[in-house]
């Protein structure tokens, strides 16, 4: 029995040593690498409130996602973009916009003086391009909004100007740019193709109509000359309409010797219809020809933009002392609600632009150990293909109600609880046609985190 007691004593000792404080806990949350601050360069995807002034502020907006802390509605609706999530994860101060203001129409509350905020190191601005200072909704595009769109090159310079011309080496630098170079170029291509189509269509309409109207005259060449002159004169007159141009031409044709019959609608209406058909064909052909001729140059331009961005990262960030640089490549714009709206040819061009940009950027930064190159493209592409794996409820519709009655800017910049689409949008991927919801931003942050962990930085 004594032996049994000894055994029990041993058991009791083992029991006691094993017990106590045995629940789950979060553990040490500090990153492996102690980072002193976060500096962000980029566009709307990283902007934390450059335009949160004037009317935008009044409307409860400021970030290009679903604005506001709505975690009481759904935990996913944090109102935060990926730069804010990264800063929180790293135990750093919440990022603030380095420069705020708007240079637009004062009557709409879009003229707010530019202010530089000392201590704020998120330079990302909605609409910003890599080098070109005229970005989306910039004043020089004719936009009443007047986005500042300070380009990446200047954003970096602005930081160097206030940090002694160098990076400290202990900050995390975030970079995500290039998408606005795609969007602006596509808009330019669309405008160019439309202009070419319109010009060709107008020309074909006039030529065809004049020929048909003159055909019945005693002397067709002479008649054509007179009709053509009347048509051009009317077309050049301010305030002309399609109908007035037709009327002028028909009027001139009817007074040509032997051609009075053309005055009857039954005679000239079919001629007008033929001319319109010819115009439509010529316009479409000219637009397509412009697209075919100009499209490839957009792709090569994106390669140049990527090369420029690579150069900035290397010569203006890494070479100036930064040791921890995150560069996100360009998401799959073709898979956004914006991209989904395109015809096949435009979508193919868009995809080629994005691919060329990413290929060039990735190759340029591949051998740079201080850069974590994050494949945001692969993430967004896979999210579109397998939404369920990512907990996404919708990857094609916008979480924000962008109708003019609900959204003044047709943008998530002024999207919040007051103008969401109907239903539970907390796990939609897109807030507007190109910008992610806070849940989408969490995914970007999680992907960046994975890469940083694999780098041994986090």
């Amino acid at each position: 029995m004594r032996q049994s007691h000894f055994a029990f004593a041993l058991i009791a000792a083992a029991v006691l040593s094993a017990c106590g404080g045995n629940g789950s806990s979060g553990g040490d949350q500090a990153p492996k690498t102690r980072l002193s601050s976060q500096v962000a360069f980029g566009d709307s995807l990283s902007d934390v409130g450059s335009y949160a002034v004037g009317t935008v502020k009044t409307l409860g907006g400021g970030k290009f996602t679903i604005n506001g802390d709505l975690t009481s509605v759904n935990p996913a609706l944090t109102g935060k973009n990926w730069t804010e999530l990264m800063a929180a994860q790293l135990g750093l101060a919440a990022p603030c916009a380095a420069e705020t203001g708007l240079d637009g129409d004062a009557a709409n509350g879009f003229a707010v003086p530019i202010v530089f905020h000392a201590g704020c190191t998120n330079y990302a601005q909605g609409g910003a391009r890599v080098i070109n200072p005229v970005g989306l909704r910039h004043k020089l595009t004719g936009s009443a909004f007047g986005a500042l769109t300070v380009p990446i090159s200047t954003q970096i310079q602005n930081h160097l100007n206030v940090s002694g011309g160098k990076f400290s080496g202990t900050e995390l630098v975030l970079m995500m740019a290039g998408a606005n170079d795609v969007l602006m170029q596509l808009a330019g291509l669309s405008a160019g193709a439309t202009a070419a189509g319109t010009a060709a269509g107008t020309s074909a309409f006039g030529t065809t109509l004049v020929g048909l109207l003159a055909a019945g005259a005693g002397n067709p060449p002479t008649a054509a000359q007179a009709i053509g002159l009347a048509l051009q004169t009317e077309a050049a007159r301010p305030g002309h309409t399609d109908a007035s141009v037709v009327a002028a031409a028909v009027g001139a044709a009817a007074v040509q010797p032997g051609n009075s019959a053309v005055a009857a609608p039954a005679v000239h209406d079919p001629m007008v219809a033929s001319a319109q058909a010819a115009a439509a064909t010529a316009g479409a052909n000219a637009g397509a020809a412009y697209f075919a001729a100009t499209g490839p140059t957009l792709v090569t331009t994106m390669a140049s933009v990527a090369t420029e961005l690579t150069g900035l990262v290397k010569s203006q960030i890494v070479a100036k002392g930064a040791n921890y640089v995150v560069v996100n490549n360009m998401p799959d714009i073709g898979a956004t609600p914006f991209g989904r709206g395109f015809d096949a040819a435009t979508l193919a061009l868009l995809n080629a632009m994005v691919k060329t940009f990413n290929d060039t950027l990735g190759a340029g930064l591949a051998s740079e150990p201080k850069v974590a190159y994050v494949d945001a493209f692969a993430l967004s592409r896979d999210q579109a293909a397998n939404p369920g794996l990512y907990g996404l409820s919708n990857v094609s519709a916008t979480a924000c109600d962008l109708s003019p009655a609900k959204n003044l800017l047709d943008s998530s910049l002024v999207c919040n609880a007051s103008n969401l689409s109907a239903g539970d949008v907390s796990h939609y991927l897109y807030a507007d046609t190109v910008h992610p919801t806070p849940f989408g931003h969490l995914w970007l942050a999680r992907t960046v985190s994975k890469d940083l962990a694999q780098k041994g930085w986090l």
């Binding site: 553990g27 999530l85 969490l442 962990a453 986090l458």
Partner: protein, 230 residues
Amino acid sequence: MNQRWNHVVTLFVTPLMAACAIAMAANASAQGAGQFTVKVGAGNMSPKGDSGDMSAPALPGSKVALGSGTAPVLIVGYSLTDNISAELDLGLPYKLKLNGAGALAGSGQLGTVELLRPSASIQYRFMPLASMMRPFVGLGVTYARFQKETGSGTLTALLNTGGPATTFAIGAKAAATLQAGVAVNVDPRWFADLTVTKSTLRTQIQYSTGQTHRMRLDPLAVIVAVGYKF
């Protein structure tokens, strides 16, 4: 205190009572050698491979793997007959590392967890009682219980960047265990032995962010111990 005692009951007292019951039954029939043994030593436990894919929302192919761990062991035995003995392995907690695997490979240590695996077994010992070397085989049941699941900044960053610290819990599970080993009798009282055990253990990790992993651990344990017969 209540909770603590509940754990004690679950973890130790229940299997112990079972072992005592066996012992008493043996005594009553008066057929056993009736010898108690106590041995102490070290065990190394290696769980098997990667987990299954993390459930949504997760990066596709996200897996984790538990590393191996070493812990002191305390084993109480009772010989029912000259050839059949019962053993109760009271093993102290193994501290194991939870590492990223699959799509998360290379992301390093995501957390740590302690595994307690008290195990009761019945063994058959070959060779006569007085032999110097006595190989044995055994069959038992192991109750694997995980505790002190501790996350990390990396785990939080991977699952809920910038959010509250992510925690995880691993479900307790009973598992069948096979044993094989050899005991070396140094003198009539002292002996040393080597035991290899393999358990079929399947459990699940649950994260505070909602995701789960299925884990097939099937741990292999190698235990080296020195014992004394009373």
